[in-house]
Structures are given as C-alpha cells and as structure tokens.
Symmetry: C2
Subunit: 257 residues, 2 copies
Amino acid sequence: MDTQTTLGGGGARNLRPLRLRRVVPGADPALAAGGAAFWASVFGPSLASDIVAELQELAQVRELPAGSLLMSSREPARDLCLIARGDAALGSAPADGSFQPERSVQGPGWLDAGSAWLGGMPAQDAVAVSDVVLVTLPRADVQALMQRCPELARRLVLTLARQVQSLTLATHDLMHKDAEGRFAAWLLQRCAGEAASDGSITVALNERKRDIASQLAITPETLSRLLRQLSRKGLISVAGYSVKVLDLAALRALAGV
Amino acid sequence: MDTQTTLGGGGARNLRPLRLRRVVPGADPALAAGGAAFWASVFGPSLASDIVAELQELAQVRELPAGSLLMSSREPARDLCLIARGDAALGSAPADGSFQPERSVQGPGWLDAGSAWLGGMPAQDAVAVSDVVLVTLPRADVQALMQRCPELARRLVLTLARQVQSLTLATHDLMHKDAEGRFAAWLLQRCAGEAASDGSITVALNERKRDIASQLAITPETLSRLLRQLSRKGLISVAGYSVKVLDLAALRALAGV
DNA sequence: CGAACCCTTGATACGCTTCAACAAGAGTGG
DNA sequence: CCACTCTTGTTGAAGCGTATCAAGGGTTCG
C-alpha cells in the first residue's frame, strides 16, 4: 500500500530505545549534579549565590541505574525530588512488577516538588528510564531556608504554579480530545523551536512507543495505527523512531479543541 | 421494569438545581467575606492575626450574581482568586456562550492560587454557579507580604501542593478508569463523613446532572444510564436529586484501580 | 540457534457518544 | 387559571472510537 512497507523498517532510522538502557553518555558529573547551572534550571536564573550554596549543602545527590524506583506511593515523601541528569517516568506501579507511565520528566528538572509538603504518600510512583542523577532536598531544611530567603519561596511557588497549569491542561486534553488530537498536541509540544530550514521538523522519539502510548492513555496498537493514519494523510512521515512533521498547520488543527 | 418507573418522578425528592439560581440564602456577609474564619479555611488555622489583617486590607471583595464570569482565559491573571461564599465552576468557555465545567469549587475555598504567578492567561475560565462572594488578592501585594512573612509563603506552597496532588489524581482517574469507575469515585468523595445510623448514606446532588456529567467527562445520557444501572444492581437508590448509597464496599470496588 | 522483547496489522468486541423522541417542571404571559 | 415555551432528564437505536485478542515479523542477546 505505502511505498514504505514497514514503519519499523529502513536502515537510516535512529535506534530503538531499549527497555532498560544500560549505556549512558558520560556527561560531566560536576556540571550535572552540582553546578550552578543545575540550580538555575530548576529554580530559575539569578538566585543569590549563597542560597545556591546552601541548597547544594542540603542536597543529597545519588547516581542510580535505569529501572530504579525513584519514588514510591507506598512510603511517605519527606524530600523534594529533582532529576539532574537522565530521564524518568511518573506513573503508577500496580504491584505486579509492571509500570504504567503517565508523565515523563527529563533532567534537569523537577520530579516532585509538592508531595513532601503534604505529609502523606505521593500520588505517583517514579522510575528511572535511563541512568539518572537523583537530587533530593529534605523538606524541613528547605522550609527553614525559605524562612530566611523569601525569594526561594517565590521560586518554589512559581514551580508549583507551573505544574498546576500543566496538569490542568493535561486533564483538559484528556476530557475533550480524542486520541488523534492528544497525539497531535503531544507531537507539537515536542516540536517546540526545532524548525528546519525547509519548514519541516524532525522529532526523535526517545522513549519506547508503548510508553508514549501510555502517556497519551491509549494502547500501543492505537498509537501504531495513528502514526500510519497521519502519514497516509501526509501530515507526518514516520521512519522508525524519527517522525518528520510535514504539515504543521493541519496538525495544529487536529490538536486544537 | 422497575418498581420506580421514572428516576425524575416521586414527590419526596429534593428540588432541581436551576441553570442560574436567582435566590440565595442570606448568609452572614461579615462572616463569609471578612471573618478570620474565612482566612483560616483557605490558608489554614492559626495564621498570625496581623497577617490576616493585612490580607484583609489587600483583599478586594465583590458580591456577584449567579452566571457571572469570574475568571477568563482570555485576559491575564493578576490576582489570586478565592470564593468566600457560593459555588463556582472551572472549565472552558468555547466562545459560543456555552460552558463546559471541568471542576467545581465550593466556598469558602481557592478558585485559582496559581495562574497569577505565571504572568500569562489562566488555563481555565470560571463562572459563578450560585451567587458568590469573590475575593481577589493582587499577586504583587501577596508577594510583598510573603517577603515579610515566610509563614504565609509556606501556606501558599501547601495550597499549591494540595492542588497538584488533586489534579494528579484526577488525571490518573481519567487515564485508567471507565465512566462507571469515575462516577463511583466521585460519589464516594461526596460521601466523606456523612454516614447515617443504619450505614446508608444519602448524597444530595447540588448541581445539574449534566454538570456532574461534564465534570466526569461523560455525556448526560451516559450518566443517566449509569444511575439506572447502579440502582438496578442495588448499589445505590436514586430519587431525583438525592442518591442513597446502599453498598459502600461494592462502590469502592468499582472505584478502585 | 532460541528466547525475549518490541512493533505492526487484522478481526472482533465493547463502551460511550450521537441523534432523535418524549415526559415533566418551571417560567411567562394571556 | 390555562396555554405555551424553554430547559432538564430519560430512554432507545445506531454508529464511532478505542480496547482486546491473536498472529506475525524484526531485532537483540544469550
């Protein structure tokens, strides 16, 4: 039917993401774990350097292999959790060993800034998708630091406000968009600022397709059919784990409302 | 088929909620709008009284009729929004005059504590379901107050963290539960702490059924069929706008996972 | 090689929406 | 008071969207 018989075929495609990635590019650990750049990317730029130093003092930095459980909904959250390097997934682990990712986080960024304040269990579990550098800040210490530095409090409020907005948009999508619309919106978000010269944009899928499907609340089968449909309609062109966006406007129309 | 021919029938049921309620019980305005009780219910108890006084100073209190637009996703959010009295609905207003409620808020409580910090448009619209007393706090002033009172900052972080958790649970439900499960969960949440002597619990539906359906992301038709199904199975008993829960355990089983 | 894992494709089943029709109030105005 | 309209909820029939089940091929690893 298509000139391209198999989506998974072709030689020039990028490699498939493994379930557990064992090899990791050896990034500079000093930069990733402890640099001021890291704190700037999670708390925003130009935070007073003495505060950054205190945060660095409080932070517990751990390097963990892919597959590690970073956060469990079965034990109380005492720390604010961040990812300095690597990818992680938030979702639910239904005790039978499987894991349903609901949201993905790429380092450097926040994993969970909220649960620790509530004195109960976090609402989600988290696992490392790649090898990660996990940074944890004890809530009590952060609270004490906030007492002396109102600016830090403001940054934290900002972080939480952003997350509220992001989650609000996510629920809106789940309530009002069908699978095609949600995938279009997901793809557009991955396009942000990566325009090529001819107007086409290529998006590399870093995760397994079944994890993408899981985040979109659809089955892997449906995602596969969706990719086929959209490429048949000429909106995208798929080669393994790389998706080229051909018709940005049409994709936006699908994603809108 | 049933002994009860029509769900809407029967004489002893409670009244139907109107689309725009015009009559409102005349509660004590002093208590609702300005009392320390109000601030305690939104910021938590035992906040320093001088801070409460300053908040009271900053707050702009407005009494608005049912149907009013309280918040628009088309104009930037400069204030933190609270409801002192009455009911409001957050959702999307698709410009054609209709309104799709996604979440309901009952006073006293927060309407939107997050958007104002982001310097953009809020992600949702809000309308008053009943007559409401709307309280707004200019973000800049709250920020200045937080500088002098770290405790206030902590309370705000707590508020936002709670909302993050609530939204996380909502997305989880939308992703993994079917309509029956979501409705069961919704009903159970309304049961909280209202147990009668014989173990049965009666829940009064304050909103239109179509608004409940909208919050559950289902159609009114499906909700109607769902009520019929569950009452046929003996889990609940429906009389107009009052639902009696008969089998709490079975309902929990439906809502679980 | 076989085993494990992933993606794809097809056939089928089910949940929910859509559309249409109807009954019951609630508001309106004679 | 009644007739009329508007809105809400209910019910049934039909159809779409997505899940489920089953089969097959590709790739990686032991």
